[in-house]
């Protein structure tokens, strides 16, 4: 694999892993939503994200040996090989916590996909353009709930504020870069993530303001996702998700 292909492979895994792990987390809400309508909304977002993950894995397989499949990448890599951001693997907590996690991520994905829709790589450009339509909806869904919970009861406000404070330390990880980025930025395949930090923060500030909740002041940052350094939660997600493929090697499903 030449260096650009190698970088593209790694970059696709990042995008795919983020979507898959968050999709898997959202699927945990199945039959547990606060209303039937929200049960549907959360698992529908999960379905969107898993679909996006599959597309990015499929593109990634074009850079690997011939018989590697998207399922191999999803179900046969281990904790240290997953390169998703640590935010998406955090437990769902309550409804407010899930909404906050989704909002922080969807706002990031919205700006990232908007930028990648101008990628010099045709496939990345196509997948980002297609994904953006879904991500805009995810952003809308989570920001509206955030505003509703922030302006609802004392209890809902307390819960959504707690979620913001608790998850803030994981947000920096989304903007981390390494040599993969350097190489792809040079070829206009991707962008310098620091350029979308301010637009991301502006959106967060604006929605928090309408939701009457405070921007967290936590300076702690927990990073490492793109290096395969995760929180303890990821291993458990993979145990469950990969169980059948690991227990029956080579079986076709």
């Amino acid at each position: 694999m030449n260096s650009t292909n190698n970088a593209l492979y790694n970059y696709c895994l990042r995008l795919a892993d983020n979507n898959l792990i968050l999709g898997q987390r959202l699927a945990e809400w199945c039959s547990q939503g606060p209303t039937l309508e929200e049960d549907l909304a959360l698992t529908n977002i999960s379905l969107d994200l898993i679909g996006q993950a599959e597309s990015f894995y499929e593109f990634a397989t074009t850079f690997t040996e011939a018989n590697c499949t998207a399922d191999d990448l999803a179900f046969l890599r281990s904790e240290r090989e997953f390169v998703n951001n640590v935010l998406v693997e955090q437990p769902n907590g309550d409804f407010a916590y899930t909404i906050m996690k989704q909002f922080l991520f969807s706002t990031f994905a919205k700006h990232l996909y908007t930028a990648l829709a101008n990628s010099s790589n045709q496939t990345i450009c196509g997948l980002a353009t297609k994904g953006l339509k879904e991500v805009n909806y995810h952003y809308m869904h989570s920001s509206q709930w955030l505003i509703r919970l922030g302006n609802g009861t004392d209890k809902s406000k307390e819960k959504i504020q707690f979620a913001a404070n608790d998850l803030w330390c994981f947000t920096k990880d989304m903007f981390e870069m390494n040599s993969v980025d350097t190489l792809l930025i040079e070829q206009n395949i991707t962008i310098n993530l620091s350029t979308i930090y301010t637009p991301w923060k502006n959106d967060i500030e604006q929605v928090f303001k309408i939701a009457t909740i405070d921007l967290p002041t936590d300076t702690n940052k927990i990073i490492g996702g793109i290096k395969g350094i995760h929180t303890e939660h990821l291993g458990h997600i993979l145990c469950e998700m990969q169980y059948l493929q690991r227990a029956h090697p080579g079986a076709k499903w």
């Binding site: 898959l20 898997q24 699927a27 945990e28 199945c30 039959s31 547990q32 939503g33 606060p34 209303t35 039937l36 309508e37 929200e38 049960d39 549907l40 698992t43 529908n44 999960s46 379905l47 898993i50 679909g51 993950a53 599959e54 894995y57 998207a70 399922d71 999803a74 179900f75 309550d94 409804f95 407010a96 505003i147 509703r148 919970l149 302006n151 609802g152 009861t153 209890k155 809902s156 819960k159 469950e240 998700m241 169980y243 059948l244 493929q245 029956h248 080579g250 079986a251 076709k252 499903w253």
Partner: protein, 315 residues
């Protein structure tokens, strides 16, 4: 008094004539209270079945073995939730609201299909639920689509289309596993062994034992008997099982050339009634799960209501 009684009997006569002439009854039409109550019972039970059915299927959504299988299962469970939502709305046309129906479910006053009181223990069970449970539901619902109450019969038409997909995806899982390795085949057969008889029970007791059947037939809430529907399902399913190499777990299974029916052993009705009465493997678990997450969502529903009120005041 006399006049009132005679006007009710006139309305009843008119109502029955409509039904006899296959004219659908609509929400604003006059209907006997017993017809209304019978429909509320049956439709809410149907809605609850869709919702409780999400639990045994959701049990495998995190462990689905491929991305495709995970997407299909997620989409299928969403379809079921959508059916539930749609059926709750259709039932609301009879003058009961969703909140009340959910209370009845959680208090054990309303039932749901007993089949969901069985556990999904291996991945093939997701195949069996689609193939057998949705397969039995299609047979039943195709009949219900010809029923007399307009909103219910139209709901059935829409729902049947989606159930057709569900049944095919379930059968596909079974077929793939039967084409797979020894442990996959074992899982598929084990799954059929456990789900076969409960799926036959889905059609309800024999016609001679069914308490609601006679009146329901007269009102065309039901238009075919439990035993007819069950036989249609058996004939269809036995051939499908044989086609992929599965064995029907009934040593007395025989084909009757004259009637062209597959004949089966007597069904274990004792088990059926035992599960209906609440003593199946998962009855308590299903209701406890529903109640737990419903209660946990209370603060969210409250917050949404308070917010909506505030918004209205601003406007």
């Amino acid at each position: 008094m006399q006049k009132n009684e005679s006007s009710i009997s006139f309305l009843e006569k008119q109502f029955q004539e409509k039904i006899n002439n296959d004219i659908k009854i609509e929400p604003k039409d006059w209907m006997p209270e017993a017809y209304r109550n019978n429909l509320i019972r049956q439709m809410s039970q149907h809605a609850h079945s869709e919702i409780i059915g999400m639990q045994p299927e959701g049990n495998w959504v995190l462990r689905a073995p491929t991305l495709r299988a995970k997407k299909i299962l997620l989409a299928k469970i969403q379809d079921e939730a959508g059916h539930g939502l749609y059926l709750y709305s259709a039932t609301e046309t009879l003058g009961i609201d969703r909140k009340e129906m959910i209370e009845q479910l959680q208090q054990g006053k309303a039932k749901y299909s007993s089949i969901f009181n069985y556990p999904t223990l291996n991945w093939a069970d997701i195949g069996a639920v689609g193939w057998l449970v949705d397969g039995a539901a299609i047979v039943n619902q195709t009949m219900l689509a010809r029923g007399s109450y307009g909103p219910y019969s139209r709901a059935m038409l829409r729902i049947c289309k989606e159930e057709g997909f569900h049944q095919r995806q379930g059968y596909e899982i079974m077929a793939k596993m039967m084409a797979g390795n020894a442990s996959q085949k074992e899982m598929a057969q084990d799954s059929l062994n456990r789900w076969w008889e409960p799926s036959l029970m889905m059609f309800g007791p024999h016609d001679s034992e069914s308490t609601h059947s006679e009146q329901s037939m007269k009102w065309k809430i039901k238009v075919e008997s439990n035993d007819n529907l069950r036989q249609r399902f058996i004939n269809k399913t036995v051939d499908q099982a044989h086609h992929i190499g599965l064995t029907i777990p009934d040593k007395n299974l025989t084909y009757n050339k004259e009637t062209r029916n597959w004949e089966i052993s007597p069904i274990n009705w004792e088990e059926f009634w035992n599960v209906v009465k609440g003593n199946g493997p998962c009855n308590r678990q299903r209701i406890a799960h529903h109640t737990k997450y419903h209660n946990e969502g209370q603060w969210v529903r409250e917050a949404a209501l308070v917010f909506a009120k505030k918004e209205m005041e601003i406007q």
